[in-house]
């Protein structure tokens, strides 16, 4: 073989030295999509298993996990290589949630391969959160992963991938200070309340609307010893249900204003067309409660409370951006830690990527095909040398016949290898090894060679 052919071969092998499976992240988050769109695309927990089942049927993906929180909706999926999943997944989301596919496309991002893996690790480690370092995302991911496993949507690859991401998150948490501070929005809200109120132990919080974020914030207040919680919601059943989980009191939405003077902390997360409360209503409330301070937290979209109430004496209004701003004051302290956290994520991504690459059978396939084709060409040359007086037609027929023989022989083993690569990494590696030995293939497993170099 000339040098030229060898180089071409090497290039081919390099290009192909990527996993036979492809990892995808398709999604949108707080940076790419407005809250309205995120809310429309979010999936209720009880639907997730069913949604995943439909996703596996609708898109050419073998495995899938859905990450749906108030800040992100993402589908992590595994497909065969050289399959485009972006279009079918976009269409799937559009159908599921009744949102135009173009809207989704313009607000979403797609990561694939190593980048997708790194993204999953970053999300689990709370490095991609609105509030970097907030602790809730990991629990949410674990829950959604559990649902996917139960629904048999996550198997070999995604199971390893997510379990690994949890380990990475734990490592980031214990080895860096990213999560060390009060960083979530809820914690920021509680911290602010502690700047205002002497003692939360005699204070009352009122939840207007039962949004996920305000529920979370309320739990933080309960965890910090707030005396009582009043819950009101357009759906009274939901108010009752939520109140029960806090040991709180549900009140009907039509009459919540009567109870407002009792509330020291008010969390609003209702979808309204106008402001729920303005300065004039609040004047009465303040008089009724003898002007004791009130802390309003506006988590609603659009805003629940008229910003003008912040100008009233003893009234403090924070919306979600203000909370983020306060929580961000820690950012300078955390930035150094975030750099270290990113390093950990990169390191872990490399390590796990090698694992994914190792299960790759592409080099074996390339080597096997190359070997057989080499034999075919050699033997053909020799035969053509003996049969000098052949017409071009006859030559082509011989050419095609030998090619067909090689392909027919190769077809079953190659399908088995590809299938195994998708299903069982260990077995795939063993079989590939066996193929190498049986056919005396060159050690063309580029990925493993680099592995050994690096380890």
């Amino acid at each position: 073989m000339s040098d030229g052919t060898a180089r071409v071969h090497r290039l081919d092998a390099d290009r192909e030295a990527e996993p036979h499976v492809e990892l995808w992240v398709f999604g949108l988050n707080h940076r790419t999509a407005p809250v309205e769109l995120r809310e429309r695309l979010a999936f209720p927990e009880q639907d997730v298993a069913e949604v995943l089942r439909r996703a596996l049927a609708a898109a050419p993906v073998e495995e899938a996990v859905l990450i749906s929180t108030c800040n992100r909706v993402e589908l992590v999926a595994v497909s065969a290589r050289d399959v485009d999943v972006v279009e079918p997944v976009t269409q799937f989301f559009a159908r599921e949630r009744g949102v135009p596919a173009t809207t989704i496309a313009s607000h979403s991002y797609v990561h694939r391969g190593r980048q997708a893996l790194q993204h999953v690790f970053r999300v689990a480690s709370s490095l991609d959160s609105m509030m970097v370092g907030e602790p809730q995302i990991l629990g949410q991911m674990k829950e959604q992963f559990r649902l996917a496993v139960e629904g048999a949507a996550a198997s070999r690859i995604l199971r390893r991938c997510f379990e690994r991401s949890f380990t990475v998150a734990k490592r980031v948490r214990s080895e860096t200070g990213v999560a060390g501070k009060a960083v979530s929005l809820s914690s920021a809200a509680v911290e602010l309340a502690k700047r205002i109120f002497d003692d939360l132990g005699d204070k009352t919080a009122m939840l207007i609307g039962a949004g996920k974020m305000s529920e979370l914030a309320a739990r933080h207040f309960v965890g910090n010893g707030i005396a009582s919680v009043i819950v009101t919601n357009r759906s009274f059943d939901r108010a009752v249900e939520l109140a029960r989980s806090f040991g709180g009191t549900p009140v009907p939405f039509e009459r919540y204003q009567q109870y407002l003077p009792l509330a020291d902390v008010v969390l609003g997360s209702v979808t309204t067309s106008g402001h729920l409360l303005g300065p004039s209503q609040l004047h009465e409330v303040l008089r009724a409660r003898r002007r004791k301070p009130m802390f309003f937290i506006d988590l609603g979209v659009p805003r629940n409370f008229d910003p003008a109430i912040n100008d009233l004496d003893n009234v403090y209004l924070y919306n979600i951006d203000d909370l983020a701003h306060v929580a961000d004051d820690h950012r300078s302290e955390r930035e150094k830690e975030a750099v270290r956290a990113e390093e950990i994520v990169r390191e872990e991504t490399d390590r796990f990527w090698r694992w994914i690459s190792r299960r790759d059978v592409t080099p074996t396939i390339v080597a096997l095909r190359g070997k057989l084709d080499g034999i075919r060409k050699n033997e053909l040359e020799r035969a053509l040398g003996a049969l000098r007086k052949l017409e071009p037609d006859e030559r082509r027929a011989l050419e095609a016949m030998t090619q067909a023989i090689v392909n027919k022989i190769l077809h079953p083993p190659l399908s088995v290898l590809k299938q195994l690569a998708l299903q069982d990494a260990t077995e795939a590696a063993q079989v590939a090894e066996l193929v190498h030995r049986l056919f005396a293939l060159e050690p063309a497993r580029a990925s493993e060679a680099t592995d050994d170099d690096e380890e």
């Binding site: 912040n310 306060v326 004051d329």
Partner: protein
């Protein structure tokens, strides 16, 4: 021990208390808070001892000039603060109270011996009682004013949604508001008692329970001002920003009137202490 030595030691301790108070703002640790309180308490005791020594020298309570009055005010302010600190988490105020004690003791040391003698007709057991009550009241109002300044500073940050790191070390607004109320209440009681003692003294010694002179007029105005403020708090529920602002205004009037009366105007209170 001589008064000057006591004052020098008190100055050093107030300085130490100020430094510790400042450090505990930057890096809040219990050890640092304790060091602040102990330094200030020791400074207070030494300065107090200095005032007692000086008082024995002059034969009655040593408030013979503005410097001595300032020193007494500062000393009592530190004392009231230390008492209040036992009840409320006010450690951060140590960094402000420390310098006040420091300046008070320094002024007393510099002006040492420059005071006039107290005229014989005021040499009465009533004098220390009357003066101490009045100065304790002023100290309480002064602390109410400090607390209100801290309140307003923090309130503005909370309203504007940008908290400086230092603000995270301050007591909550509600605590500051409560403490403000307590200081005002105590100040008012002490001021009233001081007025009553003055009235009794005047009646018993001079046969006239009240004389209209600048000091008594201003004291009446200040008493009314604080009375209105307290009444507003108790009945209408004035609190927060408005109460804090009025507290500061009240003390401003008190302070200016005190200095002004001393420096500018004649009268029984001023002529003897000018």
């Amino acid at each position: 021990m001589s008064e000057a030595l006591l004052l020098r030691l008190a100055i050093l301790l107030y300085l130490a208390g100020t430094v510790c108070g400042g450090l505990s703002l930057v890096n809040p640790r219990d050890a640092m808070r304790r060091a602040t309180a102990i330094s200030l308490a020791a400074g207070f005791l030494l300065q107090g001892a200095g005032i007692v020594v000086r008082s024995f020298e002059v034969g009655t309570i040593a408030v013979g000039n503005l410097a001595e009055q300032g020193a007494l005010f500062a000393c009592l302010l530190v004392g009231v603060y230390l008492l209040a600190q036992l009840r409320y988490r006010l450690a951060v105020l140590g960094a402000v109270v420390g310098p006040i004690g420091f300046v008070g003791a320094l002024v007393a040391l510099v002006a040492h011996g420059g005071a006039q003698d107290v005229p014989p007709f005021l040499r009465s057991p009533w004098l220390p009682v009357h003066v101490t009550l009045a100065f304790l009241g002023n100290a309480a109002f002064g602390l109410a004013c400090l607390v209100s300044l801290v309140y307003l500073w923090q309130e503005r940050q909370l309203k504007s949604h940008s908290l400086r790191p230092l603000a995270r070390r301050l007591p909550p607004l509600e605590t500051l508001d409560n403490v403000n109320f307590k200081f005002l209440g105590w100040g008012f009681v002490l001021l009233t008692m001081s007025i009553v003692s003055g009235v009794l003294w005047a009646e018993l010694s001079f046969g006239r329970f009240w004389s209209w002179e600048p000091r008594t007029i201003w004291t009446t105005i200040i008493w009314l001002l604080y009375a209105v403020l307290l009444h507003g708090r108790v009945t209408v529920g004035w609190g927060g920003r408005r109460a804090a602002a009025l507290t500061i205004v009240g003390f401003g009037v008190l302070f200016v009137a005190f200095i002004g009366v001393n420096v500018l105007t004649p009268g029984r209170h001023a002529e003897s202490f000018g």
